[in-house]
Structure formats: C-alpha cells, structure tokens
Amino acid sequence: MLEQQCDQLLPNALGEILESMFFSAISETEVVDQAQDRSFISAHLSFRGNPSGFFGVKTSAQTAQKLAANFLGQDEASISESQSGEVLCELANMLCGSSLSRLESGEKFELSAPTCIPAPMQSVPDRVIYDHLFQTDEGSLHVWMGVEERP
C-alpha cells in the first residue's frame, strides 16, 4: 500500500521541487539496478512519525554541482564541493518532507538534519519501499526510502 503511494507521490514531489526551485525537470524514471556504481555523493536523513524510516538521494558530483548552480543562482564553476553537498542535503530534506506530507495528511513528523557523505549509506533500511533512478536535465538522481517495521 505504502509502496504504491510512494510510486505515485515521489515522482510528483521531485518534479515539483526540481521545476520550482532547481529550474530542472525529470525526463525518465527507472528502477535502480543494485549493481550500479556506488562512488556517488549521497545525502540522507531519518524521519519519525507514521511511518518512521530513512530517506536518501544519491547522484554524481557533476550532477550535484549542476543542481547546486541552478539552486544558488551561480556559475557551475564557482560551486564548491561543500555547496554541492549542502544543496543535495536540502534537496533530500525537501523531497522527504514533501513526500511525507502527501503520505500522512494531518499528522506531524520529525526530520533529522540531512547529512552528506561521499559514499552510499552504510546502514541498510529495514524495509526499502522505494528505490528509483530519475533522469533529470542535469543527470541521474537515485532516490530511495526505507521504513521501519512496526513491532
């Protein structure tokens, strides 16, 4: 049920965020091949509410730099690595918050501060309910969401 909602809501949320704040768009969506290159920059955070879980966004350094340039209104060449990371964290924060708001209308949730790391997430979520690769104008963007199993 939650998986089906995410399949519909996450692409819509990402499309809205990219269009309104990154001046970009999604061109294609596909399910992620787990054997893909793992050397990308990623931003992840956890959320508490109904449901609770983990959320992450991963992309290449080059795509992160292009997205940061769009978001900050600066030339791509002037974007530092830390700025790319900060913008990717903000993208993860907005995408997670926007998706959860659509999932659980009326209920508050708490998001942790997103952190950016130059490697994939170390911890594996209990239950991955969403794992897709989006093709955007700036390059590919891997998005995943995991939820904790309730006791």
């Binding site: 978001f71 009326g106 209920e107």
Partner: protein
C-alpha cells in the same frame, strides 16, 4: 521603506536561496540577517531592528516551533511577524504553528512569487 529581514534556517543553501529570491523580488530589503537556529535568531532580534522573520521548523539547538513560542511570549518581539518556511506541509503542523503565533506559512518547495507574495502580505505591502 526598506525592510530588515531575518532568515532562520540551518541549511546555508536554503539561506542563500531565500536571500536571492528576496533580492530578485523587488521588495526593498534593508539588512538581511541570517541565523542557523532559533537561539541565534533571538540574539539577532535582541540586537537589531527586524521587520519580519522567515524561519524553518526543523533545526538543531532551538527549532522554529520554540522560536515562535518564545517570540510570542516576549513583549519586545511579539509584534515582529513570523513566516514559517518548511517542508512539513501537514495540516497539523500548519495549524500548530499558526496557533503559536506565526503570521504566514510557506510550503517548500515554493516558487519565488509565493515567497514574495507571502512576505508582502504579512508586511502589508501593496505592489504598484
């Protein structure tokens, strides 16, 4: 009249984005102060004339909810309007923040026009 604005957000990227949108909006911005959490925002308020506060909710040290609560209960700051800028678009959260004293709520993601419109509405600015 130029307005002094305080942006409260733990994300430097979002601080920059909001500042840039305000610069491009045509609104007369005087000093644009930035704070990474509610505690620092209160320090800025104690030392400066601020016309409007734009705050995130989820922040370390002191979150936006506590900031609005403390501003509302302080006679020096209770008349400074606060607009919440947040990814949390749930009805429960919006109601809670408005009940605490926020004067506006901008849902992320937002287009630049939305920010400008909300700030102008809260400040009572009319466009020509």
């Amino acid at each position: 009249m130029a307005y002094n604005i305080l942006i409260v957000d733990d994300s430097p990227a979002m601080q920059t984005f909001v500042h840039r949108v305000l610069d491009l909006s045509g609104l007369e911005v005087g000093n644009c102060f930035q704070a990474e959490n509610g505690e620092i925002a209160l320090d800025v308020l104690r030392g400066n004339w601020i016309d409007i506060v734009l705050t995130d909710i989820n922040m370390p040290v002191m979150d936006g909810e506590e900031l609005v609560r403390q501003m509302s209960s302080n006679e020096l700051f209770c008349n400074v309007p606060v607009v919440v800028v947040s990814t949390d678009n749930t009805e429960g959260r919006i109601r809670a923040m408005m009940k605490l004293g926020a004067k506006g709520y901008i849902k992320k993601p937002f287009v630049p026009e939305t920010l400008r419109h909300e700030v102008e509405q809260v400040l009572g600015v009319r466009n020509a």
